[in-house]
Amino acid sequence: MKCASLVAALALAPAAALAQGTLEGKVALPKSHFAPVMSEHYEIVSKGGILATNPPRAVVWLEGSFSKPSHLPTKQIAQKNFAFVPPLLAIEVGTKVDFPNLDDTYHNIFSYSPTKRFDLGRYPPGEKPPPTVLFDKPGLVTLRCDIHEHMRGLILVLDTPYFTITDAAGNFRLANLPAGRFTVKAWVNSRSTWEHRVDLKPAATLHVDLP
């Protein structure tokens, strides 16, 4: 039974690849307070209770009902230099995330977010295996450290396999998409998510600017 489903999946895979489409575009990110240096580095900030990345980045995903993959790769958010690395992580529902401690001191990562409440307790640097949490519900998860109050991390749990994080300019590209009518969404901060209806044609590239 298990073998049959695996075979079926393998058989379907080329067909999906054949029908693949691409979605690219630009998310109008809010102006950054920092100089417009195109840097890979950013952090999570809270302003008036709104969490966002700084310099701004957006998470863009395609919403629809897609088949669940049987296995998802384990992701990782490390604690390094008293910060979460990466600060913002987008994952598909059902993904496990490791929280390795790469600092020289204890961390206690926890979340009170309704999406996922967990408390890893205190663990020393380099603990093996690193504490792992399974995120089984879509939504935003705020990561905090009980010991280091300033540490903030975000995990956006998405019910889709098609998602990406824009670059500092807001450009994104989603490839290998199935054809059909979907909604493309862009998460800008904890309060603002923009969306756009798209009709993806097979083997076509669609350009969408958000909002």
């Binding site: 979340s111 705020t142 905090r144 280091h148 300033h150």
Partner: protein, 585 residues
């Protein structure tokens, strides 16, 4: 001395008593003043001491409260830094707020902690100031819903707030909790996102009111929590303080009131100035019975001291009155003695004066009594002279008798004048007398006499010489001297009249030739009725005496200058008129 004391005059005793009374009065006034001031001061000091005690206790309470608030503030700071509480508040996980805080506040809630830091309850307020209800399983301290509502604030304050919550504890006893509301700020925005309210047992100063029976409590929402007082008294104290609060502005005050008919001193002080919570006041009740008893004791002490002082004062007054009056007593005795002597002297003087008066009056009376029969006699003799049926020698006899009556009249006039002088009744009307004119007048009269036709009168008188004196008596002196100069002159002799002015004096020299006055008789010529072997010369021996007395009465003098075989010279010294120029003008 003893005799003097025995014979103390009544006036002296009165003086002594008055002195004693005056001193006693002063001492009494001073003593009562002293008692009054001492008592007032003692009362004021006792009240000030109580007020001072109260202020000290309140200050100690303040310090303790500040310490607790500082400790609690630290705790809230830590709490606000706490990531879990932040997460609960910021990540919309309020259900996790109390569980997150439970660990953090466990030590504060533990009954084992220091009494001052043992919280009875705690509650969180959300960003609107409303109370967040703790889940059932969390031991955040039991509060009834209506009590819990009183914790809320209309608007979250940015500063620590203190309030007092009157409530019933688990056993149903009324109690007061001190609430400290601490703002919790967002570490990201620094805005107040919540508040933590901690309820403590109100602080009590250590050892307060132990000796004075003082009781203290907290007045909040118009109700006084003071377990030591019976309910009626509690209500009354509360009402009194509330009434005082409505009248006064200040943050503290003291007042004296009857509580349950017992005098009490009340103090109150606002416990939570500048608070969003309803005002609460620390109220102290000092029963004044002890203080009043102390005051009574003090009053008796002061009165006793005053009494002792009075007795001492009395003794001292008595002593000093005696000491002070002794010189007066001596003076009195001496003056008494002097008075006796004076009285005796006065009586003697009076007797002498009376005798003198009597003798003078006798002379005057005698003179008057004598003059009348002489006048009658002369009239009779004149009548006889008028007849023409007597022999010629009879007429001579009668003429001699008439002459004798004139002589007698002269003697009597002189005697009358002398007696008036002796009696001091002769009044001189001093004026200015033109001596030159007077002498000239009298010398002219002298020349006109038949007896002086062979006499030579030499006069050397400056014109218009004025003297001070009475005209009649001056004339009498001049007449007397000139008459003597004529009577005692020899036949064909000389009368020399000289007047000289020497400064304030005018000297009248009258000299005559003729036999002189015998040397042995010269000292007596001015005595009355002295006639030194001059029986052949008419006279009665009063003239010179009278002249000298008159001169002396005028402030002048009459002296015999010389008397020898050739010349007999008298000098009369007059006082020159003080302002002759004016008088002459």
């Amino acid at each position: 001395m003893n005799r003097a004391a025995e014979r103390r005059p009544a006036g002296f005793q009165r003086f002594r008593t008055k002195l004693l009374l005056a001193m006693m009065l002063i001492i009494c006034v001073l003593t009562s003043l002293g008692i009054y001031v001492a008592q007032r001061r003692a009362t004021a000091e006792a009240q000030a001491r109580l007020e001072h005690d109260f202020q000290i206790e309140i200050a100690a309470l303040d310090r303790l409260q500040n310490l607790r608030q500082a400790a609690v503030a630290d705790r809230s700071q830590a709490l606000a830094q706490n990531a879990r509480i932040h997460a609960a508040l910021e990540d919309n996980a309020l259900d996790l707020l109390y569980p997150s805080a439970e660990d953090e506040l466990r030590d504060v809630m533990a009954s084992g902690t220091t009494a001052t830091l043992h919280a009875r309850f705690y509650r969180f307020l959300d960003h609107r100031g409303a109370v967040l209800i703790p889940p059932r399983e969390i031991s955040a301290g039991r509060l009834r819903p209506n009590e819990q509502r009183r914790l809320s604030q209309n608007k979250l304050s940015r500063t620590m707030q203190t309030g007092y919550l009157a409530r019933r504890d688990a056993a149903g006893n009324s109690t007061v909790d001190e609430m400290i509301a601490l703002p919790i700020r967002s570490t990201e925005t620094n805005e107040v996102i919540a508040a933590l309210v901690l309820g403590f047992k109100p602080l009590e100063a250590v050892g307060r009111g132990s000796a004075t029976g003082m009781q203290s409590g907290i007045l909040v929402d118009g109700k006084l929590q003071l377990s030591g007082l019976e309910p009626a008294a509690r209500v009354e104290v509360g009402r009194e303080v509330e009434r005082d609060l409505t009248q006064g502005e200040g943050k503290s005050h003291s007042l004296r009131r009857q509580i349950n008919d017992r005098p009490c001193l009340l103090f109150w002080k606002r416990l939570n100035p500048h608070s969003n919570y309803p005002p609460a006041y620390e109220v102290c009740v000092y029963p004044l019975q002890q203080l009043l008893a102390h005051e009574r004791r003090l009053r008796w002490k002061i009165l006793g001291a005053g009494g002792l002082f009075l007795v001492g004062g009395f003794a001292i007054s008595e002593f000093f009155a005696g000491r002070l009056s002794r010189p007066v007593e001596k003076l009195l005795v001496v003056s008494e003695k002097n008075l006796g002597e004076r009285r005796r002297a006065e009586a003697k003087l009076r007797t002498t004066a009376e005798e003198l008066q009597r003798s003078a009056r006798f002379s005057a009376d005698a003179s008057h009594q004598l003059k009348s029969p002489i006048t009658v006699l002369r009239a009779g003799l004149d009548g006889l002279l008028a007849r023409d049926d007597f022999a010629p020698e009879v007429y001579e006899e009668i003429s001699a008798l008439v002459h004798q009556t004139y002589w007698l009249t002269g003697v009597i006039d002189d005697l009358l004048l002398l007696s008036r002088m002796d009696a001091g009744r002769l009044q001189l009307n001093l004026g200015t007398v033109d001596l030159t004119h007077l002498i000239e007048q009298w010398s002219d009269d002298l020349r006109a006499l038949p007896e002086t036709e062979d006499l030579k009168i030499e006069s050397d008188i400056p014109a218009g010489l004025q003297i001070a004196g009475e005209t009649d008596f001056t004339a009498l002196v001049v007449q007397n001297l000139l008459d003597n100069a004529r009577k005692y002159n020899r036949a064909g002799g000389v009368i020399r009249i000289q007047v000289r002015q020497k400064d304030e004096q005018v000297e009248l020299h009258i000299a005559n030739t003729g036999r002189g006055i015998p040397v042995e008789a010269q000292p007596y010529i001015f005595e009355r009725f002295h006639r030194a072997g001059t029986d052949d010369v008419p006279g009665h021996g009063l003239g010179l005496n009278l002249a000298r007395e008159l001169m002396r009465l005028h402030g002048g003098e009459l002296r015999l200058l010389r008397s020898n075989a050739q010349w007999t010279e008298f000098v009369a010294i007059f006082r020159a008129a003080t302002t002759p120029a004016r008088d002459r003008g």
